[in-house]
Symmetry: C2
Subunit: 211 residues, 2 copies
């Protein structure tokens, strides 16, 4: 299998954490989003959305969307299982993962920030205000209230919620979003980053990393 | 169980379709998003995100996020199963559902359009351009290429992909997004809307519907 990856993409970072937690050997193919490689015809033929990540199976089948890819990996390599089997536990874990993946990340995605700058004339302060607003209100401040006692988001084992949280906090730091209202999430993040699988997936440790 | 619902919310509409397909009896409690009822303290105590829908179980447990709620209902009432058991089929269905739920819907959500008008000074034409851009490019035009032969998005039975597609096309029509580049999706939509469960979930048929 091959993962079409970009070191700084939050969505690709989620899949990398899942791969590392499960100890899978999956080739990484960088798609340089900042240089627009995701809009090249050969990549669009693989993923019509023009987004990273995408997972290419050995028969050439392409899977898109980070959470769909991680669910697939959960079925393929269920140790550790990132979405619990119990339906109620699964719903709570997915509730946090989707709060991040649907209601925070898409709003501070590169393509949206480019639109704000290029088509709506926003300067750095306008873009920063947008990012901080969606990251916090109805976003991470709500997630802070949805997680359970730690050390991970939902107890003693990492789940899909942690896999989504750590990249979102990475993005928040990169955009200098103030995080002092999120003590529980910061404690979860510190616990995750001390785990070798989460550490191996960090953007700065990828082959395509840039300063 | 009780569903906190709003007739015009795409995310709530998804859950209503799932409920109708499965023939579940679930009380609907309207939360009037246009009047800001989702920001009242009593609702925020239930769903800290301040979004609809939310599902309240009989013991008072609250589940948030439409796709997490639908997965829970799939476990509780698996006929029909909206995400297939086969991991590869599931990944393809989820890929389409998440393309809509992550990369289209959050960008034309009411709260985002309010921000564009109130904080970025956009008029109707600026807001419409934003909506159409995200609905089509990398959005529904990509989904058009990801679905399989019909009559539903993935064959003969409705799945989570259809449950997400129909409300997104409803929103697109409401915003007058041009849809002529999406013949496969429009054929799927017509097939779905002829199905009594999809029809019963339509916004205009809800008790809280307004003109």
């Amino acid at each position: 299998m091959k993962l079409y990856d970009y070191f700084r993409s939050s969505a690709a970072y989620r899949v990398r954490i899942a791969i590392e937690l499960k100890g899978l050997a999956i080739q990484r193919i960088p798609v340089h989003l900042a240089r627009g490689e995701q809009r090249r015809a050969d990549y669009l033929a693989k993923n019509p959305q023009g987004l990273a990540p995408a997972l290419e199976l050995d028969d050439g089948t392409i899977l898109t969307q980070s959470l769909a890819i991680i669910d697939y990996l959960d079925a393929l390599a269920p140790h550790p299982l990132l979405t619990p089997k119990d339906p109620l536990r699964a719903a709570k874990v997915r509730g946090v993962a989707l709060a991040i993946a649907c209601d925070i990340h898409p709003l501070n995605n590169r393509r949206v920030l480019d639109y704000l700058r290029e088509r709506l004339g926003q300067d750095d302060s306008g873009v920063d205000a947008w990012i901080h607003h969606w990251a916090l209100q109805g976003g991470l401040e709500a997630v802070e209230r949805l997680v359970e006692p730690g050390p991970f988001c939902f107890g003693a084992q990492p789940t899909l919620a942690d896999v989504c949280l750590v990249p979102q906090l990475f993005a928040a730091r990169r955009f200098s979003t103030p995080l002092e209202t999120l003590p529980k999430l910061l404690a979860v993040e510190a616990h995750c980053l001390a785990h070798p699988a989460f550490a191996a997936a960090e953007p700065s440790r990828q082959a395509d990393a840039e300063p």
